[in-house]
């Protein structure tokens, strides 16, 4: 009898699965409630994670510094003299800028967020951030880090949001190579490399060429760094070229991100 009870118990998750499949809105709401309730625990967890990262980074830096102490001292002296020259040039630049009545380009409005969780499925590259609709975040906003484009906002809850990163297989970004101006679509394959698909057969792309967002579509502003071309081959359909791109963003070490909450000013 107890054995059969175990089999009956299987009906519980199946019923839940059918229910949430039928009502996706309910699925989203339950996620939003869970994420809101679990947010303090996630924040504590991300604090522990940052402490571990910091420990690993500091110990690595320390060991590295011990090995290169002399070289670092010489480098510091060199950089200090360079810094003095740079300060002088900055002041001169400022004076000239005012003189020519240059205006600084308008920056995009952004909002900073911390990564507080990651999807547990190994091939999915989706992270949870600690900002949501209460912080003016909306679906499909571009998410960037200093190194370049990281992804876009996938789902928004009141206090948290899911961000799909470029290496995810469901991610699509219209992209452009910096020199040859070849257009293609950047997709993820779940691993450390990205693919640039649908490149015309006659384009001449160089290895190491920068890949940036093309600005086609209304999600990503033009010119955000994505990565560098690593290798090129003919696509399996024979009609296009396929390039492998090394991303400029270190996706395994994302801690803080910026969400672009306004479109680029023209």
């Amino acid at each position: 009898m107890r054995r059969w009870r175990s089999y009956y118990f299987l009906a519980v998750p199946i019923l839940a699965l059918v229910l949430f499949y039928q009502y996706p809105r309910l699925n989203e709401n339950v996620h939003a409630v869970f994420d809101t309730l679990a947010r303090p625990a996630f924040v504590v967890g991300s604090g522990i994670r940052e402490a571990f990262y910091s420990l690993r980074y500091q110990s690595g830096n320390f060991l590295d510094a011990v090995g290169k102490q002399k070289a670092y001292i010489a480098r510091i002296q060199d950089l200090e003299s360079q810094l003095l020259r740079t300060h002088e040039m900055e002041r001169e630049n400022e004076r000239l800028r005012k003189l020519l009545n240059f205006s600084r380009p308008l920056a995009l409005r952004t909002i900073g967020a911390r990564v507080i969780g990651e999807d547990l499925t190994p091939w999915k590259k989706v992270v949870l951030i600690d900002k949501g609709s209460r912080h003016n975040l909306k679906k499909d906003m571009a998410v960037v880090v200093p190194e370049g484009l990281a992804g876009r906002v996938l789902e928004v809850g009141p206090y948290t949001s899911y961000v799909i990163l470029l290496p995810d297989a469901d991610s699509r970004v219209s992209a452009l190579t910096s020199v040859s101006r070849a257009q293609g679509i950047i997709t993820g394959v779940g691993a450390s490399k990205l693919q640039m698909k649908y490149l015309a057969l006659d384009v001449e792309i160089a290895i190491g060429e920068d890949v940036t967002t093309s600005g086609v579509g209304s999600i990503f502003p033009k010119g955000l760094q994505i990565g560098k071309i690593e290798s090129i081959e003919r696509d399996s359909d024979g009609l296009h070229l396929l390039a492998f791109v090394k991303p400029s963003v270190p996706f395994s070490k994302l801690e803080e991100v910026l969400c672009l909450i306004s479109s680029p000013q023209k």
Binding site: R49, P122, V126
Partner: protein, 170 residues
């Protein structure tokens, strides 16, 4: 063994969920990190005997569903179904066989990952992607299995080591 709805079990579940969702990515190797919720299911099967595993698997799956942001109930269904199979295997296995716990844990994590892959991509998946994803699953299974002794130690300290009566008759 504590009651399945005792605060000890609930707290342990929450602890493992936070560990899996936020802390474990620090310890990733080539994009792979272990899952303690999988180990908890295996622990329940090995230490608490049959009929408890299904319950643990259900809650572990539900927590993984909620942490992942996908369809709720998917992982819970897969893990509950696998827990039934795990229970059956654990009842029949030869406990004295060296490394049997590691082998079963590895197979459990591998099957859970493979089933999830199968459900996520029910259509045809390009061979290169399939090979890559299977590689990730195998690495996750290896990494998770390697932490079984650590998990057993911590769980035994938390729940108290169960008395094994069969050892009296050796």
């Amino acid at each position: 063994m504590p009651h399945l709805l005792s605060p000890k079990i609930i707290l342990y579940f929450l602890f493992l969920a936070v560990l899996d969702g936020t802390v474990m990515p620090v310890f990733q190797v080539h994009g792979v990190y272990p899952s303690f919720l999988y180990l908890f299911i295996c622990y329940a099967a090995f230490e608490w005997g049959s009929h408890k595993t299904v319950f643990v698997a259900f809650w572990a799956g539900l927590l993984r569903d909620l942490l992942g942001g996908g369809l709720i109930g998917l992982e819970a269904t897969l893990l509950t179904a696998l827990a039934l199979a795990l229970d059956f295997v654990v009842q029949k296995m030869e406990r004295e066989l060296p490394g049997i716990y590691f082998i079963i844990t590895f197979l459990f994590v591998f099957c859970a990952g493979s089933l999830r892959l199968l459900v996520n991509f029910p259509g045809e998946l390009p061979a290169s992607l399939l090979a890559g994803y299977l590689g990730l699953i195998v690495m996750t299974a290896f990494y998770t299995t390697a932490l079984l002794p650590v998990f057993n130690f911590v769980a035994n300290r938390w729940f108290g080591h169960p008395a094994k009566q069969y050892e009296l008759f050796r």
